[in-house]
């Protein structure tokens, strides 16, 4: 179920999932994976491709994460967050 920790290579650029970002780390959304409903929901909440996200907080025991996107704070379940592929922005923690 969970894809956390798994790195994916695409076009020579290193991508990771949202859960791989460190607290305080930023990334640009490249793609959201998963079922139709989930992908649509994430897009509606503002998590669309090429949007910048900031990981604010990780819950304990592999729990949900808190992210900031478009000036709003969202909580995403671990399974949900691991479906969001991001390109980490440099000079900030990514993993």
């Amino acid at each position: 179920m969970s894809r956390s920790g798994k790195r994916l290579r695409e076009n020579e650029e290193e991508l990771c999932t949202l859960t791989d970002l460190a607290e305080g780390g930023r990334g640009i959304i490249v793609k959201t994976q998963g079922g139709f409903g989930l992908v649509r929901r994430l897009a509606e909440m503002g998590l669309t491709p090429s949007t910048e996200v900031k990981l604010l907080k990780k819950g304990s025991f592999g729990g949900p994460v808190e992210v900031e996107v478009r000036g709003v704070t969202l909580a995403l379940g671990h399974g949900v967050a691991s479906k969001v592929l991001v390109k980490p922005l440099k000079d900030e923690g990514n993993g």
Binding site: K31, L38, M45, G59, G62, G63, L74, A75, G77
Partner: protein, 649 residues
């Protein structure tokens, strides 16, 4: 004669929409359900400048797609009922995300007035918005408000009336997507206009076209019902597939991106960020309450405080009301003394038994619960609790938000069932409610502790609780697997903490209590009356005799135990009281006590809970949950009895 206006409030959750609603209508409001839906519907009326204005508070949603029932309810209301004005309540501190919703209102070609709310809070965060420019770009009136203080409300109403009377002529922004998307929307719109003229009389043609391109399942199923619908649908599918191939994304993601880029552009144009925000008290509070370690003791503390408040307050109210109500019923019995007693007694007992149960059991716990719920809702703590418990709740096939009704279930199943509304989809609501009915409420705790805890030992009582928790996990998972539909993970906004307003909390409590009394009381009274009539006519005897193979044969209980189990439906602690009247409790074996408590813990939640389930899910689902509960209670009762016999002999 007063002219009438219908106004709907629409917007995201957590933007102060309900505060504006309360400012507009005061206590003059009714909370109920949308017909056939588990969605709260709040309505109220007010008088302004010779107008009688009926206000409907649409559910707070982030979009107007077909994701949740709330979203469908909202857009159907806007499209079909065509209210005179829609007040779009917008959070000034999160303009971009809120504009995403506004753009969809404009797609629906609704007459919109924007209430730019929480401008004070936005200013605190260093955000200033150019209201005139925003209004100019969107082509709709925009009124800045601070709902909490009531500032701007009068101007908002003046604008609403001006728009409705045609004094203001808005020129709503014509949304144009990127070339590839726009081209397809327009082609599709032409086809829709030509092929679906009757549907276009209800919904705007462009909106239908956009929704078809977005593969909106609700609109697609409506289109199918019209002649020529299939052709439009096939064409839309082809266009969507082309777009998807081009972008490598699902078409709803492409359209959401388009809308967001428009929203983002507008927000940037009208927003000035003055100072970088410094860390506020609210942010500190947020850091502590969602902290990896510290968050949990705080959560436990808040839950314990909630429970003790509900129990101490509720227990006090309950015993107070009990004396009052029993006095009243003695008087009524005396008044009716001239009538034949064999008729009067069961009627009085039945009707009053029901009302007494409602007043003394349900209400005293529900009112304090509603107050605390409103406080937790309005302060913004609930999402924090859900955040902390998300991982744990996934183990039973639900997500973090379900933690709240589950915990409430240990107090009383009734508010817990109603609390399942916080889940997004009907599927999640149903799983949560099912799980909640299996959680031992306070009344069941009385039976477990009063019988097993007292006579067998606390370890046995504890074992029952652990067994129950295990069962909740297993059955929750099974329900998760069995029920159709895509499971939804946690995607939840974490609104900033806010100080709850007394006025708002009381208004919510009042209207929710009113709603509960109107719906649950008649059902409780009817149920109670049925049982007492069965008793008075001697039918209970037949039922007990008929149930004997189950009660004595399978469960190994004394045959009279059937009576308390049947009456336990009225109120669970009554099961223990009646049992003690029928058999000296000491004469029961440990195994019998454990089985009796186990069955009481699991079988149909009391009549008030059934009423709540009916209210929330309708007859069929309420019946299924009830039957499943009874079946499991009997199955495990007999099984445990046999296992205990094996170990003790």
């Amino acid at each position: 004669m007063a002219r009438r206006l219908r106004v709907a409030l629409a917007g995201n959750a957590n933007v102060g929409k309900s505060v504006i609603f309360n400012q507009l209508t005061g206590l003059n409001q009714v909370i109920g359900n949308w017909p056939g839906k588990t969605v709260e519907k709040a309505e109220g009326t007010l008088h302004f400048k010779g107008y009688t204005i009926r206000v409907i508070d649409l559910p707070g949603t982030y979009s107007l797609s077909a994701f949740s029932i709330e979203e469908i309810v909202s857009r159907e209301y806007i499209a079909i009922e065509k209210p005179d004005v829609i007040i779009n309540v917008v959070d000034a501190s999160a303009l971009e995300r809120n504009l995403y919703f506004t753009l969809q209102l404009l797609e629906l070609e609704a007459p919109v007035v924007m209430a730019l709310n929480q401008v004070d809070f936005a200013a605190k965060k260093g955000i200033r918005i150019n209201v005139e420019k925003l209004s100019e770009i969107l082509g709709i009136p925009v009124v800045p408000t601070v709902a909490i203080t009531g500032s701007g409300i009068n101007e908002l109403l003046t604008t609403v009336v001006a728009l409705a009377s045609g004094e203001i002529k808005p020129k709503p922004l014509k949304i144009r997507f990127g070339a590839e998307v726009e081209k397809r929307v327009q082609k599709l719109q032409k086809l829709v206009e030509k092929r679906l003229p009757r549907m276009c009389a209800i919904y705007p043609a462009r909106w239908i076209a956009i929704k078809l391109l977005e593969k909106d399942e609700d609109v697609a199923s409506k289109v199918k019902n019209y002649a020529g619908g299939t052709e439009a649908l096939e064409y839309a599918e082809k266009q969507a597939a082309e777009l998807e191939k081009m972008h490598g994304e699902q078409s709803p993601v492409i359209l959401a991106s388009e809308r967001y880029s428009i929203a983002s552009k507008i927000a940037k144009e009208v927003t000035v960020t003055i100072t970088p925000p410094r860390i506020s008290l609210e942010q500190k509070l947020d850091t502590i309450t969602t902290h990896k370690i510290l968050g949990y003791p705080i959560l436990i503390g808040i839950l314990l405080a909630t429970f003790s408040l509900i129990f101490i307050g509720g227990g006090f109210l309950s015993s107070f009301l009990e004396t009052v109500v029993s006095d009243v019923s003695t008087h009524i019995e005396a008044l009716l003394a001239f009538l034949p007693q064999e008729v009067v007694k069961p009627l009085v007992n039945g009707v009053f038994g029901g009302i007494v149960a409602g007043i003394t059991i349900a209400l005293p716990y529900i009112v304090p619960f509603y107050i605390i719920l409103a406080l937790l809702e309005d302060s913004g703590y609930l999402p924090r609790a859900a955040f902390l418990m998300d991982n744990f709740m996934h183990k039973m096939g639900l997500h973090g938000k379900a933690f709240i009704p589950l915990v409430l279930g240990y107090g009383c199943s009734v508010p817990a069932c109603i609390g399942c509304r916080i889940m997004e989809t009907e599927r999640e609501r149903l799983i949560a409610a099912f799980v909640v009915t299996l959680v031992p409420c306070a009344a069941r705790t009385v039976v477990i502790l009063g019988l097993v805890g007292r006579y067998v030992g606390l370890h046995a009582a504890l074992a029952l609780y652990i067994f129950d928790l295990a069962l909740v996990f297993v059955l929750g998972r099974i329900a998760f697997k069995v029920l159709p539909g895509e499971p939804v993970g946690l995607i939840m906004e974490m609104p900033p903490y806010k100080r709850p307003l007394v006025k708002n909390v009381l208004a919510k409590t009042w209207s929710r209590t009113k709603d509960f009394v109107c719906v649950a009381f008649p059902i409780i009274v009817a149920g109670s009356l049925t049982i007492t009539i069965l008793d008075a006519t001697g039918f209970i005897g037949y039922i007990v005799a008929g149930a004997r193979p189950i009660i004595s044969g399978w469960l190994g209980l004394p045959k009279v135990a059937g009576v308390p189990l049947i009456f336990g439906v009225l109120r669970k602690e009554l099961a223990l009281i009646l049992l003690s009247e029928l058999v000296p409790l000491e004469t029961l074996s440990a195994a019998q006590m454990i089985v009796f408590a186990l069955v009481t813990m699991l079988y149909i939640p009391c009549i008030a809970t059934i009423a709540a389930l009916l209210r929330e899910f309708g007859l069929k689902k309420a019946a299924v949950i009830t039957i499943v509960n009874v079946t499991f209670a009997l199955f495990f009762g007999g099984l445990v009895y046999r296992l205990l016999l094996l170990f003790t002999t």
